[in-house]
Symmetry: C2
Subunit: 329 residues, 2 copies
């Protein structure tokens, strides 16, 4: 057990629970604690809460300081937004843990979050620990993977990434987040209120522009409802024709000489031809089509897989483009 990495799962929503179950099945790491504020979970056996099919002999703690076990790293899956997760990440670092988070806004902090990101970076350096935000998107498909592909480019004129996702087999909260079952009017109102839809396009654009030394002069994003033409039924929703079955988000990043990056994120129930497509215009003209990049499986995988590089990294807030290749291990 000497080399076993001891993990606390912070956040026991659907993704956190699935991540904790994955930690249980991975060699080389041990699940030693779980944190969630939900009073329906606190005090219950962690194995029961995450659906492990067995008791783990560890109660879910209401906060990190209530976790009794010694640990090395915290896997953090609570919120997408800096104002909600910032204090949690700082607390984790101050407690002396490395942290890998699925918080989308942490993957590549935008200028508007610069001071909060600096606070996290400073806390990490004071503690001698490392913080990383990652996930399949942002964190991989629309940023670090296209960046990796430019390794074989002599010239890059434009990068586009299309993520076309059949959401029928995703989690209920995800299906809700993309507007399933709403009327178009409800969808548009929710979108206007903010904090709905996919988070991360601006972070992916930020990472790519910054890494390639491009100046981001303009960022545009649009979102529209994808409307069902026939009934679509999942375990969570029963969407009738005319109602929303998902969303289409488009983001465009402009350099001084025009559009350099186009990201299209379509997630909808019953969407056929699930795939991702990365197109890099330049020399050479490169096209990469991926199938099988299931969002939940992939996000859980990359978060756990990143632990190894985060443990090796210098202290501070790092991003996927700063680390050596993250791989399974």
């Amino acid at each position: 057990m000497a080399d076993t990495i001891r993990v606390i799962q912070y956040g026991l929503g659907p993704i956190g629970c699935a991540m904790a179950r994955h930690v249980l099945e991975r060699p080389g790491i041990a699940l030693v604690g779980g944190v969630d504020v939900d009073p329906n979970k606190v005090g219950k056996d962690l194995g029961q809460v995450i659906g492990a099919g067995r008791e783990l002999g560890v109660a879910v703690a209401p906060s990190l300081r209530d976790v009794a076990a010694q640990a090395d790293v915290v896997l953090h899956t609570t919120s997408s937004y800096f104002d909600l997760f910032k204090n949690q990440i700082v607390e984790i670092l101050q407690a002396g843990f490395d942290v890998v988070s699925t918080a989308e806004e942490l993957s590549f902090p935008s200028p508007e979050h610069a001071s909060a990101a600096q606070e996290i970076d400073a806390a990490a350096k004071r503690a001698g620990k490392t913080a990383l935000g990652t996930g399949v998107n942002p964190g991989f498909l629309m940023d670090s993977l296209p960046l990796s592909l430019t390794a074989i480019s002599q010239r890059v004129d434009h990068i586009s990434v299309l993520r076309l996702m059949n959401a029928s087999h995703r989690r209920g909260p995800f299906q809700a987040k993309i507007g399933c079952g709403m009327t178009v009017a409800q969808f548009n109102q929710k979108m206007a209120e903010g904090r709905m839809g996919h988070v991360g396009l601006v972070q992916s654009v930020g990472m790519v522009f910054d890494t390639l030394g491009k100046q981001l002069t303009k960022f545009e994003t649009t979102v529209e409802a994808v409307v069902a033409e026939k009934p679509v039924k999942t375990d969570f929703f029963d969407v009738q024709p005319g109602f929303v079955r998902g969303l289409k988000q488009v983001a465009r990043g402009y350099a001084p000489d025009g559009e350099f990056m186009l990201l299209t994120f379509i997630a909808a129930l019953g969407e056929p031809d699930d795939h991702d497509l990365i197109t890099i215009r330049g020399k050479p003209e490169l096209q990469v089509k991926l199938t099988g990049t299931n969002g939940d499986i992939a996000t859980i995988a990359i978060t756990v897989n990143a632990i190894k590089r985060v443990r090796q990294a210098a202290p501070g807030l790092v991003t996927m483009r700063d680390l050596p290749i993250v791989t399974i291990w």
Copy 2:
């Protein structure tokens, strides 16, 4: 010019010349010297030798110590084989340069080259410089890229990579190297004599196994001629039916529980459907199809693109899996 990286091109064969021309067109780097042993090139203007379309006012030097200019990094494109390039790499490091080489065997030194690799590593550390072997294959398509893709894997059972290349528009020496124009008997005899065909499959298997912590218990490789069924004509060869138009190389890497990696390299004149296919069996089942990964363009690109990470890296002999993401810059 303060931040301009000054480059010496060491080896002025077709790839070296194309690489030097690419250096000329890239911002942020300057071509300050060229080295080649060929008496037909030594003393001539570097611009003329590389086909730059203009004189550069620098004569091709017969050896590195004959290069008068100050420089930062050497791009090395001479030989695939340790016994031929080892002293060159050591000399480059001792002269105080970082080096990025296309030498296939340097990309991930095999156990049989361990002591020579250690000699290079020691020379690099003594000089405080960094050496890297890279290229599109080995260096990317069959090793560091599949490794990057396992970031989103919860479990990997098997990795296969197919590289299916239409060699009709490749360099003459490349077409010769894959046996074009030979009889099958000539091809088989040349292969038996060694030092023909594609170099790098064992290095790619080595990098993947080592990075994923797999024990390589057996490595098998086969090569066979791809025979023309109809005439194929290129700028360099005119292959009649029954003669060799290319090769198919297959490598298999085995872990204790069976085959874990299968690499198939097909390079042949007139081969339609030029593409690469990476298949990762496990959870999830991942398939990635690439089109446009032209070998010469890509190898030149990744070698030049790697300069930035090599300059930032700690001294020593490093490999692609040790560096942060290599991107265009």
